[in-house]
C-alpha cells in the first residue's frame, strides 16, 4: 500500500500539478481522528501524538471548506488520501494525490477523490503536509508470542522487504540499545552523512525508538508500522501509521 504512494512521490512534480496514485485500504474513521481500516487495522495518529512521536501535520476533512481550512493551517504542498469504507477490502483501489501545490488543485483533487467514494456518506479525506524526506526509515513494533513486545528499525520505503536492512530489539529499550540499533543498520553510513550529506539526528531517532518501545509495552498492539519515517533537515517525521490491534 505504501509502495504505490512512494512510487508516486519519487516522480517529483515541478509545476505543482498533483500526482495521483493508489492508497490501500482506506476506510471509515472514528470521530477522534482514529481512522479505521480493514477490521482491526487503524490509522491511529492520535496514538503517536500521545507518545510524543512526531508526525507530519494533518487533518481529516469531509468537505472542501474544512479541507481549505486545514490547508491554510498546514500549508502547501499537500498530500490527500481518500478514506472510505467502499475501498475496505480492495487494497489497490484507494486513491491519493501527492504534491498538491495550490488551492485550485486542492479543490479539483478533493472533488475527484470524493467522486471515487460516491455513495459512501462516511467518506473523508486525510489532508497531510507533503514533505519528502532525503531518506526513508521504517519504525515498527510487534508482539512476539515468545518474547513479548519488540521494536524494529529499518530502511523504509518501497524496498523495505527486499532489502531487509533491519535492526530488532526486545523491549524495553534504553538509549544505549536504541543507538546501537541505529548503528547496526547496513544503511547507517548513509544516515551518518555519507558523501557530504547532513547526518541524521541520532538522539532524535533514538528518542522515537524509545517512545515506540514504551508504546508497545503499554498499549501492546499486535503490530505497528510507522512507514515511512522521513529523515529531513527539519527533523524526523512519521508520514503514515498502521496499528493492528
Amino acid at each position: 500500500m505504501v509502495s504505490a504512494k512512494n512510487t508516486a512521490r519519487r516522480s517529483r512534480n515541478k509545476n505543482h500539478r498533483p500526482q495521483t496514485g493508489y492508497c490501500a485500504g482506506a476506510g471509515g474513521h472514528a470521530p477522534d481522528g482514529r481512522v479505521r481500516e480493514n477490521g482491526a487495522r487503524t490509522m491511529d495518529f492520535d496514538l503517536l501524538k500521545r507518545y510524543g512521536i512526531p508526525i507530519l501535520p494533518h487533518a481529516i476533512a469531509k468537505d472542501i471548506g474544512s479541507a481549505r481550512k486545514a490547508a491554510a493551517k498546514i500549508g502547501f504542498p499537500l498530500a490527500l488520501k481518500l478514506i472510505s469504507s467502499r475501498f475496505l477490502h480492495k487494497t489497490d483501489s484507494g486513491a491519493l494525490a501527492l504534491n498538491v501545490g495550490n488551492e485550485h488543485y486542492l479543490r479539483t483533487e478533493f472533488e475527484r477523490l470524493m467522486r471515487m467514494a460516491k455513495g459512501d456518506k462516511q467518506a473523508s479525506i486525510l489532508v497531510q503536509a507533503y514533505r519528502p524526506g532525503r531518506f526513508e526509515l521504517i519504525v515498527g513494533g510487534r508482539m512476539d508470542p515468545q518474547f513479548g513486545p519488540v521494536v524494529l528499525l529499518g530502511t523504509g520505503g518501497i524496498y523495505t522487504e527486499v532489502l531487509r536492512d533491519i535492526s530488532l530489539r526486545v523491549c524495553p529499550l534504553d538509549e544505549r540499545e536504541a543507538r546501537a540499533m541505529i548503528r547496526s543498520l547496513k544503511s547507517y553510513p548513509i544516515l551518518a552523512g555519507a558523501r557530504g550529506r547532513k547526518p541524521v539526528d541520532e538522539a532524535a531517532l533514538s528518542r522515537i525508538l524509545m517512545r515506540v518501545s514504551r508504546l508497545m509495552e503499554n498499549e501492546r498492539p499486535a503490530e505497528l508500522d510507522l512507514n515511512p519515517v522521513l529523515v529531513r533537515d527539519d527533523g524526523l517525521w512519521a508520514a503514515d501509521v498502521r496499528v493492528l490491534r
Partner: protein, 511 residues
C-alpha cells in the same frame, strides 16, 4: 577412567575402578529450592535406576551399567519388581524399599508407570529425577506431562525431561546417558557445560567432544522441559564453579523474558553459545504489516540472544568451534598476528581476519629486526609471518616468542602444516608451553588428514583451541572478541576490570 570395563560388575564396589567422591556444591542458598535441587542431578549421593533391566539393549540396563562401571562413588540401587537381580545386583521392588535415602531417581519405565515411580522416589527422599521415558507432550499427551509436573513441583523435585537422553557430570562420574559407552564416547572432565533440548543432537556433540579431546563440566539433555527448563539450567550453571562456558542447542525457549533474565545473569561472567534450530519463515508470512513480516520469530530470537549477551552459532560445526575458543586467556585487543609454515594458508588466514572485521597486527620494528636475523635470507619479515616449509619446532619456538613479546600483537594464530618433512611432533611441546604461559591467546590452525587430525586432537586435549581451517578459526576468534567486548562493558566505568585485567586507560573495548 582409564580402566577397561569389567564383564561382571557387582554392586559391592569394584576396587579396581577409581570411584568419585561426592563434591561440595557451589550453589548459593539464595536460589529457589527447585534449582538448588539440581545438585542432586549432578552430584547425587545415591541414585536409583527405576526400570533396571537385564536386557543389554534396554535403557534401564545401559544406565545401570554406566553407574556401576563408570566409577560413580555414591550408592546405586536397581529397581524392578519383576526381576530379582540385574547385573549381579539384587533389585528392589520399589525405590522406597531402599535402606537409605535416594537422592536422584533415574526413570526408564513405560509412561504409565512414571507417576508412581516419581511419587515413590519422593517418598524415598529424592531431590531430583531424570525421566528418560517418552510419550508425553511430544506426542500430544499433555495431561500425562501435567501430572508429572505437578508431582515434581509439589515436592520441589528437580525433574529433567521427560523424553530426554540423560545427564553427564564427568568429574563426579555421573552418567545417565542411555547411549552405550562403546557406541558414544564420553568427554573428560572440563569446563564447558552443554545443555541440549534434543537428545540426538546432544549425543552427536558429546561424541564429537570426546573424540576431539574437548572436556565438559556438564551435559544435560532436557527433553520436554516439563519442570526444569533452559532458564533454570542457566541459573544453576551461572553459579557452578566447574563451568566456565555454556553451550546450548535449542528449538525454542519455554518463557522468553525469564530466559533473557537468566541468560543475562550468566553472560556477565560466562560466555553462552546458542544454536537455535527451527528458523523457517512460515510464521512471518501471515503478518499483516511490514514490521510483522520483517520481525519474524527467527529474527526476534536472534535479537533476544544478542541482547542477553549470548553468541549465536548457525551450524553444529560453529557450535562446536565457538565452544572451544573460550578456553583462551583474556585478550588485550583485537590485533591478530599470524605465524605459518605455509604461505598460501597465511594469505587465507589474513583474508579471514578482514572478513570477520578484525585487524591484522602491524609488527613492531623490533620484531621485524629480530625476524630478519632469525629467518633465512629468502623470506620476508611481516605479518602473516611465513617461516616457510623447512621450519622445524625450534624455528616455530623462536618466531612464536617474537609474536608473544610484540606489544602490537594481541592474539597469535599459529598455522601448522604437519605435512612438511622438517617438522616433527615436538612442535606440540612448543605450542603447549607457550599456551600454558597464558600471556596471550594462542589459536592453532591445522588443515589436513589423519596425521594432522591426530596432532590437532592432542592440542585440543591440552585446552588449546585448534581449527581445521583459517576461516573457522577466525570466525571463532571474532566471537571470542565479541564476548570479551560485551563482558567488559559492565566494567566500563571501573578503573580496573577483573575480567580483562586491564586499567581503564588501556582498554580496547568499544564504549
Amino acid at each position: 577412567m582409564s580402566k577397561p570395563s569389567h564383564p561382571k560388575p557387582s554392586a559391592d564396589s569394584d576396587a579396581s575402578v577409581p570411584r568419585s567422591k561426592p563434591s561440595a556444591s557451589s550453589i548459593p542458598s539464595s536460589l529457589p529450592r527447585l534449582i538448588r535441587n539440581l545438585d542432586a542431578v549432578f552430584h547425587p549421593k545415591s541414585v536409583a535406576v527405576i526400570g533396571a533391566s537385564r536386557e543389554p539393549y534396554k535403557i534401564g540396563h545401559v544406565i545401570l551399567r554406566n553407574f556401576l562401571e563408570g566409577g560413580y562413588g555414591g550408592k546405586v540401587y536397581a529397581v524392578n519388581p519383576h526381576t530379582p537381580d540385574v547385573l549381579g545386583m539384587k533389585t528392589l521392588k520399589r525405590a522406597s524399599d531402599a535402606q537409605g535415602k535416594i537422592d536422584c531417581a533415574l526413570v526408564a519405565v513405560p509412561e504409565k508407570f512414571v507417576d508412581d515411580a516419581l511419587k515413590d522416589s519422593v517418598s524415598a527422599g529424592a531431590r531430583a529425577a531424570v525421566v528418560i521415558t517418552g510419550g508425553f507432550s511430544e506426542v500430544g499427551n499433555k495431561a500425562g506431562e501435567e501430572r508429572i509436573r505437578k508431582i515434581a513441583l509439589d515436592a520441589d523435585l528437580a525433574l529433567i525431561g521427560p523424553n530426554c537422553m540423560g545427564v553427564l557430570n564427568p568429574a563426579a562420574r555421573v552418567d545417565s546417558v542411555f547411549l552405550p559407552i562403546y557406541k558414544m564416547g564420553r568427554p573428560h572432565a572440563g569446563s564447558i557445560a552443554f545443555i541440549s533440548q534434543s537428545g540426538a543432537v546432544g549425543g552427536c556433540i558429546v561424541d564429537l567432544a570426546a573424540r576431539a579431546g574437548v572436556g565438559m563440566s556438564k551435559f544435560v539433555s532436557y527433553g520436554n522441559a516439563a519442570v526444569i527448563n533452559e532458564s533454570h539450567l542457566l541459573r544453576y550453571l551461572a553459579h557452578d564453579e566447574s563451568t566456565q562456558a555454556v553451550v546450548s542447542y535449542m528449538e525454542g525457549v519455554k518463557d522468553g523474558p525469564s530466559f533473557m533474565q537468566s541468560a543475562r545473569a550468566l553472560t556477565k561472567n560466562k560466555p553462552l553459545v546458542i544454536l537455535k534450530a527451527g528458523k523457517s519463515k512460515q510464521g512471518a508470512a501471515a503478518a499483516a504489516s511490514h514490521t510483522g513480516s520483517l520481525a519474524g520469530s527467527a529474527e526476534v530470537y536472534s535479537a533476544a540472544f544478542a541482547q542477553s549477551g549470548a553468541l549465536e552459532a548457525q551450524t553444529l560445526e560453529e557450535l562446536f568451534d565457538f565452544s572451544k575458543i573460550f578456553a583462551l586467556p583474556p585478550s588485550r585487543g583485537p590485533r591478530i598476528g599470524i605465524l605459518t609454515n605455509g604461505g598460501g594458508n597465511g594469505v587465507l588466514a589474513a583474508d579471514s581476519v578482514e572478513a570477520e572485521g578484525m585487524e591484522l597486527a602491524k609488527l613492531s620494528g623490533e620484531s621485524v629486526r629480530a625476524l630478519k636475523t632469525m629467518l633465512p635470507d629468502y623470506t620476508t619479515a611481516r605479518n602473516p609471518m611465513d617461516i616457510i616449509g623447512d621450519a622445524d619446532a625450534a624455528r616455530y619456538e623462536r618466531a612464536l616468542q617474537i609474536l608473544l613479546k610484540d606489544p602490537a600483537v594481541d592474539i597469535v594464530v599459529v598455522i601448522v602444516l604437519f605435512q612438511t618433512a622438517a617438522l616433527d611432533s615436538s612442535v606440540i611441546n612448543v605450542l603447549v608451553k607457550a599456551a600454558q604461559a597464558k600471556s596471550k591467546p594462542i589459536v592453532v590452525v591445522s588443515t589436513g588428514g589423519e596425521y594432522t587430525e591426530l596432532h590437532r586432537r592432542i592440542l585440543d586435549g591440552y585446552g588449546i583451541p585448534t581449527y581445521p581451517s583459517p576461516s573457522s578459526a577466525m570466525r571463532a576468534i571474532s566471537r571470542f572478541l565479541q564476548y570479551e567486548n560485551y563482558r567488559c562493558r559492565f566494567h566500563a566505568s571501573e578503573e580496573y576490570c577483573g575480567h580483562c585485567a586491564m586499567e581503564k586507560k588501556n582498554r580496547w573495548h568499544e564504549k
